[in-house]
Amino acid sequence: MSFPLSSAAAKRILVAGAVLPFALLASAAQAQEDSQWKSGEHLYDSVCGHCHKPEVGVGPVLEGRGLPEVYIKAIVRNGFNAMPAFPASFVDDESIAKVAEYLSTLPAPAAQP
């Protein structure tokens, strides 16, 4: 069963949203820029590293392991057991390529105990 919207409601859809001014104080609106993450390092520091950095150890070490981009992308998109997945809206393909590149440039950390 479905009710079509009344025409008044339909009209409201067309005009609403354009007429809601509100005063902003000090700061300008701020969003992450078009390039979703500034760099591979930025993505690693902001997201992946919170689990994968050697000093954290929630996830396995990724630094300096030469992991292929295609593998990293598959894991990020599908998630992997304890690891959550990330849609492209959160981490886009371009950023995955950058983080893969960044990780491969890092030295492998000393063996963990």
């Binding site: 919207l5 701020q30 902001s46 997201v47 599908n78 959550p84």
Partner: protein
């Protein structure tokens, strides 16, 4: 597998109708914001619930970045009876993650709608869009050197205030009751109207984030844990950064101590002497967040025996209960309250007090101190490694902050979990009067038999707690209908009457909190 679509359709929607809607979505949002390919949708389908992915597979996902686009989306959904499941940052692990409550729903993903619209360092308020993460806010506050402090759930950096507050999540600072500190909300209604709560409807108002109630019925609460609208902006209060922050821990040796701990703590929380959402974590929660794994101690199936827990305590110095709290304010204020607090525990004679000086950079003290001061980290995800395999559900009954009640709930939960071969991994999140008794039902989701046990276990936890007059404050999508039943038929009748009035076509997340015009039958 990357054809036009992934062979999942919304309930009761034929392919042809779905295709029409998809065409309109493309026109409205652009091709790149309409995802219908299997490989694009897979990330939204990752769940930790004990059921196959297909049960919560979306038919499509849409990304929108403006209020006008969201209005356009609901218009199309009304025209073609398309049900949409809205997510903000979509990091609802243990509660259903980013996947829809019902198979086939279209996900409205607002992650890219991520403007920090305003942070006012004088009035200490924020106004943000749904895609804003706590990590993004934290960076903004740091970069601009604002004297403000965030509060967030443990997934902190990757989670966000809108999504978390929509599910009435909690944090660990004095502003830890997030919905309590929320002020002003903008919602796109199913008919396309843009509704602002509180003072938000007043032309030229500058008090939207200042005064919560506005005039007449105050409806913010009605939109949380509900499907009556799509939140596109949310305001909330921020705690001024205090000059001094003093985190501390008190370690208790015995499981039975929970009674005394809670009864000692309550007056300190009630008086505001300890102002933050205190945590009392049991030994396995502590172990998981310290990144110990079960395999290091035992490989036999079934629950982890008590003698192993004792051994873990002996090896590590962890307690059966580990209390984390903090003091905030000027040095003088902190000193005065520290004397009050430490005297209480010293006089009681149980409990080993650990200060930050003693703990140093040791985990899990460090991550707890960070969460209690609004510094993001994901240390606590170590819980998912306790058994591994990607299985986790939060069972979170509400309790009086009364020792005997907490003891009763802990024993009840432990018995049921053990019966199903699982562990009691829990913490109490302490308000002055209430407890969020948060239990992580952890299991190996790659093991089919264990997955079945976890499902049966969760059902039984709900049943047995209900018999004692207990219900949960929040639950994963697989059990949202079941939990709605805990709260009685009248509440559900009212909820569905509101639903009929505001969303007659049942397009907004039908099934959310058990609210669904298609399936609900009045008792």
């Amino acid at each position: 597998m990357s054809e036009q679509n992934n062979a999942v359709l919304p309930k009761g929607v034929v392919q042809e109708e779905f295709n029409k809607a998809v065409e309109k979505f493309r026109e409205l949002l652009g091709d790149e914001n309409v995802l219908v390919k299997a490989d694009q949708l897979v990330p939204y389908n990752k769940i930790m619930m004990p059921v196959e992915n297909a049960a919560h597979a979306p038919s499509a996902a849409l990304t929108a970045t403006t209020v006008e686009q969201v209005q356009g989306v609901v218009k199309i959904c009304n025209e073609h009876s398309i049900p949409i499941w809205t997510i903000s940052t979509g990091r609802n692990f243990g509660y259903g993650s980013a996947a829809p409550v019902a198979r086939g729903q279209v996900i409205l993903d607002l992650k890219k709608m991520n403007k920090i619209i305003n942070i006012d360092p004088v009035m200490c308020t924020a106004l943000v869009e749904p895609g804003v993460t706590f990590g993004q806010l934290y960076d903004y506050i740091e970069e601009n050197d604002l004297p403000l402090m965030l509060s967030f759930s443990a997934p902190s950096a990757i989670a966000g205030p809108v999504g978390n507050t929509m599910d009435r999540g909690v944090g660990y600072t004095p502003y830890g009751e997030h919905f309590m500190m929320q002020c002003g909300m903008e919602v796109v209604m199913a008919n396309g109207d843009v509704y602002r709560t509180g003072m938000g409807g007043v032309e030229g108002s500058n008090t939207w984030q200042i005064f919560k109630w506005g005039y007449g019925p105050t409806l913010d609460g009605m939109f949380t844990q509900a499907n009556y609208g799509i939140t596109t902006k949310m305001g909330f209060w921020l705690m001024p950064k205090p000059p001094v922050f003093k985190p501390f821990e008190v370690i208790f040796e015995d499981e039975e101590d929970i009674i005394e701990i809670v009864d000692l703590l309550r007056p300190l929380r009630m008086s505001g002497t300890i102002p933050n959402s205190v945590v009392i974590a049991n030994v396995l929660w502590e172990a998981g967040s310290a990144h110990l794994t079960r395999k290091q101690y035992i490989t036999e199936p079934g629950h982890t025996p008590d003698e192993i827990l004792k051994k873990m305590q002996d090896d590590t110095g962890m307690g059966a209960w580990n209390l984390y709290a903090a003091l905030y304010g000027t040095q003088e204020q902190v000193d005065v309250n520290w004397k009050i607090v430490s005297d209480v525990f010293k006089q009681h004679g149980k409990g080993r007090i650990v200060t930050q000086e003693e703990a140093g950079d040791k985990q899990p003290f460090k991550y707890r101190a960070e969460l209690m001061s609004g510094v993001p980290n994901l240390q606590e995800f170590g819980l998912y490694n306790w058994r591994g395999g990607g299985g986790s559900m939060w069972f979170a009954p509400v309790s009086e902050a009364r020792g005997s009640e907490c003891k009763k709930q802990a024993a009840l939960a432990k018995g049921i979990l053990h019966k199903h071969g699982l562990d009691y991994v829990a913490e109490f999140i302490v308000a002055p009067r209430d407890m969020h008794h948060v239990i992580d039902v952890l299991y190996d989701r790659t093991n089919e038999e264990e997955t079945k046990r976890a499902d049966a276990c969760f059902n039984e936890l709900l049943d047995e707690f209900e018999k004692e007059g207990y219900a949960v404050y929040r639950v994963n999508t697989r059990f949202q209908e079941r939990v709605a039943q805990s709260y009685g038929p009248v509440k559900r009748d009212v909820e569905h009457a509101i639903k009929r009035a505001l969303d007659p076509n049942n397009i907004l997340a039908p099934g959310r909190s058990g609210i669904d015009l298609d399936t609900y039958k009045k008792a």
